[in-house]
Symmetry: C2
Subunit: 124 residues, 2 copies
Protein backbone atom coordinates (compact mmCIF):
# COMPACT_ATOMS: atom_id res chain seq x y z
CA UNK A 1 0.00 0.00 0.00
CA UNK A 2 1.59 3.24 -1.13
CA UNK A 3 1.90 6.13 1.30
CA UNK A 4 1.92 9.88 0.87
CA UNK A 5 5.32 11.51 0.49
CA UNK A 6 4.34 14.64 2.39
CA UNK A 7 2.72 15.56 5.68
CA UNK A 8 3.44 14.79 9.31
CA UNK A 9 6.01 12.15 10.21
CA UNK A 10 4.54 9.04 11.82
CA UNK A 11 6.97 7.75 14.47
CA UNK A 12 5.28 4.34 14.40
CA UNK A 13 6.49 3.47 10.89
CA UNK A 14 8.67 0.35 10.66
CA UNK A 15 11.91 2.22 9.92
CA UNK A 16 11.42 4.42 12.97
CA UNK A 17 11.05 1.22 14.98
CA UNK A 18 14.24 -0.17 13.46
CA UNK A 19 16.07 3.07 14.30
CA UNK A 20 14.87 2.81 17.90
CA UNK A 21 15.95 -0.82 18.07
CA UNK A 22 12.38 -2.01 18.63
CA UNK A 23 12.63 -4.18 15.52
CA UNK A 24 15.85 -5.94 14.43
CA UNK A 25 17.52 -5.45 11.06
CA UNK A 26 20.45 -6.91 9.19
CA UNK A 27 22.71 -3.90 9.56
CA UNK A 28 25.21 -3.16 6.82
CA UNK A 29 26.51 0.26 7.86
CA UNK A 30 25.94 3.09 10.30
CA UNK A 31 27.38 6.54 10.76
CA UNK A 32 26.26 9.89 12.15
CA UNK A 33 23.76 10.42 9.32
CA UNK A 34 22.42 7.05 8.26
CA UNK A 35 21.60 3.48 9.08
CA UNK A 36 21.77 0.94 6.25
CA UNK A 37 20.38 -2.58 6.31
CA UNK A 38 19.38 -5.39 3.98
CA UNK A 39 15.92 -5.24 2.42
CA UNK A 40 13.85 -8.14 3.76
CA UNK A 41 12.47 -8.80 0.27
CA UNK A 42 15.50 -8.18 -1.94
CA UNK A 43 14.84 -7.34 -5.59
CA UNK A 44 18.44 -7.99 -6.64
CA UNK A 45 21.54 -9.88 -5.46
CA UNK A 46 22.35 -6.81 -3.38
CA UNK A 47 19.45 -4.71 -2.11
CA UNK A 48 20.27 -2.41 0.76
CA UNK A 49 18.13 0.36 2.24
CA UNK A 50 19.88 3.54 3.35
CA UNK A 51 17.83 5.67 5.72
CA UNK A 52 18.56 8.94 7.51
CA UNK A 53 18.56 8.79 11.28
CA UNK A 54 16.45 11.93 11.35
CA UNK A 55 12.70 11.76 10.68
CA UNK A 56 11.81 12.64 7.09
CA UNK A 57 8.71 11.29 5.40
CA UNK A 58 10.29 11.22 1.96
CA UNK A 59 12.82 12.76 -0.43
CA UNK A 60 10.42 15.70 -0.60
CA UNK A 61 10.79 16.95 2.97
CA UNK A 62 14.37 15.67 3.23
CA UNK A 63 15.49 17.93 0.38
CA UNK A 64 13.39 20.83 1.65
CA UNK A 65 14.38 20.78 5.30
CA UNK A 66 17.66 18.91 5.85
CA UNK A 67 20.93 20.86 6.02
CA UNK A 68 23.41 20.79 3.15
CA UNK A 69 25.71 18.75 5.39
CA UNK A 70 23.01 16.16 6.05
CA UNK A 71 21.90 15.89 2.42
CA UNK A 72 25.50 15.43 1.35
CA UNK A 73 26.15 13.10 4.26
CA UNK A 74 23.33 10.77 3.29
CA UNK A 75 24.32 10.70 -0.38
CA UNK A 76 28.00 10.17 0.43
CA UNK A 77 27.06 7.36 2.79
CA UNK A 78 25.08 5.60 0.05
CA UNK A 79 28.08 5.82 -2.24
CA UNK A 80 30.45 4.60 0.47
CA UNK A 81 28.21 1.64 1.27
CA UNK A 82 28.08 0.68 -2.40
CA UNK A 83 31.86 0.84 -2.48
CA UNK A 84 32.16 -1.24 0.70
CA UNK A 85 29.85 -3.84 -0.84
CA UNK A 86 32.11 -4.09 -3.90
CA UNK A 87 29.58 -2.53 -6.26
CA UNK A 88 31.61 0.39 -7.50
CA UNK A 89 33.37 -1.36 -10.37
CA UNK A 90 30.36 -3.36 -11.56
CA UNK A 91 27.84 -0.57 -11.04
CA UNK A 92 24.61 -0.09 -9.13
CA UNK A 93 21.27 1.70 -9.14
CA UNK A 94 19.91 4.11 -6.55
CA UNK A 95 16.16 4.66 -6.30
CA UNK A 96 13.93 6.66 -4.03
CA UNK A 97 10.16 6.53 -4.14
CA UNK A 98 8.29 9.58 -2.90
CA UNK A 99 4.55 9.36 -2.46
CA UNK A 100 1.62 7.46 -3.85
CA UNK A 101 2.34 7.37 -7.58
CA UNK A 102 5.79 5.95 -6.86
CA UNK A 103 4.58 3.13 -4.65
CA UNK A 104 6.52 4.35 -1.57
CA UNK A 105 5.71 1.80 1.12
CA UNK A 106 7.29 3.15 4.31
CA UNK A 107 6.84 6.83 5.25
CA UNK A 108 10.48 7.32 6.25
CA UNK A 109 12.80 8.56 3.50
CA UNK A 110 14.98 5.76 2.14
CA UNK A 111 17.31 5.07 -0.74
CA UNK A 112 17.24 1.66 -2.39
CA UNK A 113 20.73 0.53 -3.36
CA UNK A 114 20.57 -2.27 -5.95
CA UNK A 115 23.36 -4.21 -7.59
CA UNK A 116 25.48 -7.33 -7.56
CA UNK A 117 24.05 -8.45 -10.90
CA UNK A 118 23.05 -6.92 -14.22
CA UNK A 119 19.83 -5.10 -13.36
CA UNK A 120 16.72 -5.24 -15.56
CA UNK A 121 16.64 -2.59 -18.26
CA UNK A 122 15.81 0.89 -17.09
CA UNK A 123 13.53 1.93 -15.50
CA UNK A 124 13.12 -1.49 -13.89
CA UNK B 1 25.00 0.12 -24.34
CA UNK B 2 25.87 0.52 -20.70
CA UNK B 3 28.87 2.62 -19.71
CA UNK B 4 31.27 2.47 -16.79
CA UNK B 5 30.39 4.62 -13.80
CA UNK B 6 33.99 5.43 -12.96
CA UNK B 7 37.09 6.71 -14.74
CA UNK B 8 37.90 9.80 -16.77
CA UNK B 9 35.12 12.12 -17.90
CA UNK B 10 34.52 12.12 -21.65
CA UNK B 11 33.59 15.65 -22.75
CA UNK B 12 32.10 14.29 -25.97
CA UNK B 13 29.16 12.58 -24.25
CA UNK B 14 25.71 13.80 -25.32
CA UNK B 15 24.91 15.60 -22.05
CA UNK B 16 28.17 17.54 -22.24
CA UNK B 17 27.12 18.60 -25.73
CA UNK B 18 23.71 19.66 -24.44
CA UNK B 19 25.36 21.67 -21.66
CA UNK B 20 27.57 23.41 -24.25
CA UNK B 21 24.55 24.15 -26.42
CA UNK B 22 25.91 22.00 -29.26
CA UNK B 23 22.77 19.85 -29.13
CA UNK B 24 19.31 21.24 -28.29
CA UNK B 25 17.14 20.01 -25.44
CA UNK B 26 13.65 20.64 -24.14
CA UNK B 27 14.73 22.60 -21.09
CA UNK B 28 12.57 22.38 -17.97
CA UNK B 29 14.76 24.17 -15.42
CA UNK B 30 18.20 25.64 -14.91
CA UNK B 31 20.05 27.13 -11.95
CA UNK B 32 23.64 27.48 -10.80
CA UNK B 33 24.00 23.73 -10.19
CA UNK B 34 21.85 21.90 -12.71
CA UNK B 35 20.21 21.77 -16.09
CA UNK B 36 16.99 19.76 -16.39
CA UNK B 37 15.32 18.70 -19.62
CA UNK B 38 12.79 16.22 -20.93
CA UNK B 39 14.00 12.71 -21.71
CA UNK B 40 13.73 12.12 -25.46
CA UNK B 41 12.35 8.62 -24.84
CA UNK B 42 10.06 9.15 -21.81
CA UNK B 43 9.27 6.10 -19.70
CA UNK B 44 6.39 7.84 -17.88
CA UNK B 45 3.97 10.76 -18.36
CA UNK B 46 6.67 12.94 -16.81
CA UNK B 47 10.30 11.92 -17.35
CA UNK B 48 12.85 14.64 -16.76
CA UNK B 49 16.62 14.33 -16.54
CA UNK B 50 18.41 16.47 -13.98
CA UNK B 51 22.14 16.84 -14.63
CA UNK B 52 24.86 18.75 -12.82
CA UNK B 53 26.58 21.45 -14.84
CA UNK B 54 29.93 20.17 -13.64
CA UNK B 55 31.50 17.08 -15.21
CA UNK B 56 30.86 13.92 -13.19
CA UNK B 57 30.77 10.49 -14.81
CA UNK B 58 28.22 9.12 -12.36
CA UNK B 59 26.79 9.22 -8.83
CA UNK B 60 30.04 7.56 -7.79
CA UNK B 61 32.42 10.43 -8.52
CA UNK B 62 29.74 13.05 -7.84
CA UNK B 63 29.35 11.87 -4.25
CA UNK B 64 33.09 11.44 -3.82
CA UNK B 65 34.28 14.74 -5.21
CA UNK B 66 31.50 17.35 -5.26
CA UNK B 67 31.17 19.81 -2.37
CA UNK B 68 28.42 19.47 0.20
CA UNK B 69 26.85 22.59 -1.28
CA UNK B 70 26.81 21.09 -4.77
CA UNK B 71 25.48 17.70 -3.67
CA UNK B 72 22.71 19.41 -1.72
CA UNK B 73 22.14 21.87 -4.56
CA UNK B 74 21.58 19.12 -7.11
CA UNK B 75 19.23 17.17 -4.82
CA UNK B 76 17.29 20.27 -3.83
CA UNK B 77 16.96 21.21 -7.50
CA UNK B 78 15.49 17.80 -8.35
CA UNK B 79 12.94 18.24 -5.58
CA UNK B 80 12.11 21.79 -6.69
CA UNK B 81 11.65 20.69 -10.30
CA UNK B 82 9.28 17.92 -9.19
CA UNK B 83 7.32 20.49 -7.22
CA UNK B 84 7.25 22.92 -10.17
CA UNK B 85 5.95 20.10 -12.37
CA UNK B 86 3.09 19.45 -9.94
CA UNK B 87 4.40 16.06 -8.83
CA UNK B 88 4.74 16.71 -5.12
CA UNK B 89 1.21 15.80 -4.10
CA UNK B 90 0.86 12.77 -6.37
CA UNK B 91 4.40 11.50 -5.85
CA UNK B 92 7.38 10.65 -8.01
CA UNK B 93 10.40 8.40 -8.32
CA UNK B 94 14.06 9.41 -8.56
CA UNK B 95 16.57 7.00 -10.08
CA UNK B 96 20.23 7.17 -10.87
CA UNK B 97 22.11 4.46 -12.71
CA UNK B 98 25.84 4.17 -12.05
CA UNK B 99 27.91 1.86 -14.21
CA UNK B 100 27.47 -1.23 -16.28
CA UNK B 101 25.23 -3.41 -14.12
CA UNK B 102 22.75 -0.56 -13.86
CA UNK B 103 22.50 0.09 -17.58
CA UNK B 104 23.78 3.68 -17.32
CA UNK B 105 23.74 4.97 -20.90
CA UNK B 106 25.35 8.41 -20.78
CA UNK B 107 28.60 8.91 -18.82
CA UNK B 108 27.49 12.18 -17.23
CA UNK B 109 25.78 11.87 -13.84
CA UNK B 110 22.00 12.29 -14.13
CA UNK B 111 18.90 11.80 -12.05
CA UNK B 112 15.78 10.44 -13.69
CA UNK B 113 12.66 12.12 -12.35
CA UNK B 114 9.56 10.04 -13.12
CA UNK B 115 5.93 10.72 -12.34
CA UNK B 116 2.64 12.10 -13.59
CA UNK B 117 1.03 8.67 -13.39
CA UNK B 118 1.03 5.64 -11.10
CA UNK B 119 4.44 4.09 -11.75
CA UNK B 120 4.93 0.36 -12.26
CA UNK B 121 5.54 -1.55 -9.03
CA UNK B 122 8.96 -1.09 -7.54
CA UNK B 123 11.68 -1.53 -8.67
CA UNK B 124 10.30 -0.73 -12.13
Amino acid sequence: MAVKGTGAYNPENIFAKILRGDIPCKKVFENEWVLAFQDIAPKAAVHVLVIPKNPYVSFIDFTKTASEAEIAGVMKAASLIASDLGLEESGYRVITNAGENSGQEVPHFHLHLLGGQPLPPFPV
